[in-house]
């Protein structure tokens, strides 16, 4: 059992953990859930909820009971969630791939650091060496660009992957329950 001292310490710590404190941190945290809106339920959006209802009707077919209707709605909800996640992931990849000047943030940092280092060492009238200019103007192309995008967006893609896994699991169990109910 947790002792009084520990409870008091936990409460004191909880009081101290009040989330981001700076203005920038707070505004960033406020946008967390809006970035792809995937944590919002499908029914919070009229267009998606219409899609859920339409798909649920397709799943149910004709003349079924309330249990089947509820299970069909769960399948449809999970299916629409899957579509939302996949669409969000597709947007991330296709926007980056369609950008002809795509450069990764890591590479931008490296380029900026190099340019600053060279400018500090030489006066402004001295032209930068060709190799440096070539590096500064370089950008990934072909498969290298795609692989770079995957590396840059790895965190976002991983987060979406978790959403997808959950939606897929919800759909699988909803379908099994639906099939079982249909057999009864």
């Amino acid at each position: 059992m947790t002792g009084d001292r520990k409870i008091r310490a936990n409460r004191a710590n909880a009081q101290a953990s009040t989330g981001p404190k700076t203005e920038r941190g707070r505004s960033h945290a406020a946008r967390n859930a809006l970035r792809h809106a995937l944590s919002r339920p499908v029914y919070s959006d009229p267009v998606w909820s219409e899609e859920v209802e339409a798909l649920a009707r397709e799943i149910i077919g004709a003349g079924t009971n309330a249990e089947i209707q509820e299970l069909a709605r769960r399948i449809a909800e999970a299916q629409i969630d899957l579509r939302r996640v996949r669409y969000a992931r597709h947007q991330i990849l296709s926007q980056a791939l369609s950008d002809p000047d795509y450069v990764s943030e890591t590479m931008l940092g490296k380029k900026a650091a190099l340019a600053i280092r060279i400018l500090r060492r030489s006066d402004l009238d001295t032209p930068m060496p060709d190799e440096v200019m070539e590096f500064l103007s370089s950008k990934p192309e072909g498969p290298n660009k795609f692989a770079t995008i995957l590396a840059d967006k790895a965190r976002q893609l991983l987060a979406l992957d978790r959403y997808e896994r959950r939606a897929q699991s919800r759909r699988k169990f909803a379908i099994r329950a639906f099939d079982a109910a249909g057999r009864r």
């Binding site: 299916q79 579509r83 296709s94 791939l97 692989a147 995957l150 897929q168 699988k172």
Partner: protein, 272 residues
């Protein structure tokens, strides 16, 4: 278009009446720039025909299997292209270091030099003179070398500024031909590699460490997509087993009903 509308992949799709099974469950196929829409639909049709979905839930699984298999192919292609590109770059670097001027790229140097000389003709010179001078210079004739050096100095160039790009161009062309499995390029490169005590595999092994992170990431994507595709296939199997069991039961019930139907007239006959 509003931000909200952008969230719905089906917002601009076909009307409900002529919506395809794929669009109904998946929305528009999520293809990346450069991917072939027709190939995707053909692939979908083939899988759909093979699976023969019995209801909308099966259609969902079919759409998922196709989409996941497409992903597997996409990542495999990316991995192979990435490795090939890196391999070709390594081969290009090797060739730049091992090509011999007289045997391999003298002609390239001569062509490039002739173009530069033609663009910077001295008074009274013709294009043919420029070509002849480039030819002599390429063959290392001392008088021609001096003349060319003078002209090049006048335009802030030297011989290396022409030699390097000529060598790089030849190396790139050879590497490209090697990738296309052209016999001449294969023979020459294999000979150069053997002379240097190397093989194409050794070059690849040396080239890949810088790409291992990327390749590992792609491998993980392949594994995830394959695992999910297999899970979908298992779900299709499970449903079909359940459905076939249900179907069997239905058939038995119908057969039972049929027996009853059969028995009655027979019984009537015998009674008669």
């Amino acid at each position: 278009m509003s931000k909200r509308a952008g969230l719905h992949p089906n917002a601009n799709s076909k009307t409900k009446s002529n919506i395809s099974p794929l669009a109904k469950v998946q929305g528009l196929p999520l293809l990346l720039p450069g991917e072939d829409d027709d190939a995707y639909h053909e692939f979908f049709s083939r899988v759909r025909t093979a699976v023969n979905p019995v209801d909308i839930i099966d259609e969902m699984f079919v759409a998922d299997v196709v989409s996941l298999e497409w992903e597997v192919l996409r990542w495999r292609r990316l991995k192979s292209n990435l490795m090939q590109t890196r391999g070709l770059e390594a081969l290009g670097q090797f060739l730049r270091a091992h090509l011999d001027y007289y045997v391999h790229y003298q002609k390239y140097f001569e062509q490039d030099l002739a173009e530069i000389l033609q663009d910077n003709l001295a008074e009274g010179q013709t294009e043919i003179d420029a070509q002849a001078l480039a030819h002599k210079c390429a063959r290392d004739e001392p008088d021609a070398d001096d003349k060319v050096n003078q002209i090049l100095a006048g335009i802030n160039l030297d011989m290396d500024d022409i030699l390097e790009p000529a060598r790089a161009r030849k190396a790139e062309e050879l590497a490209h031909d090697y990738a296309q499995r052209k016999l001449g390029a294969i023979k020459l490169i294999d000979k150069l590699l053997a002379e240097a005590g190397l093989s194409i595999d050794t070059l690849m092994v040396r080239a890949l460490p810088g790409e291992l992170d990327k390749i590992e990431r792609i491998d993980r994507l392949i594994t995830v997509a394959e695992t999910r595709r297999n899970a979908m296939l298992r779900e299709i199997d499970r449903r079909h087993a359940v459905l076939s069991e249900a179907l069997r039961r239905q058939v038995q019930e119908v057969e039972g009903e049929f027996e009853v139907v059969e028995k009655t007239p027979a019984a009537t006959k015998s009674a008669a």
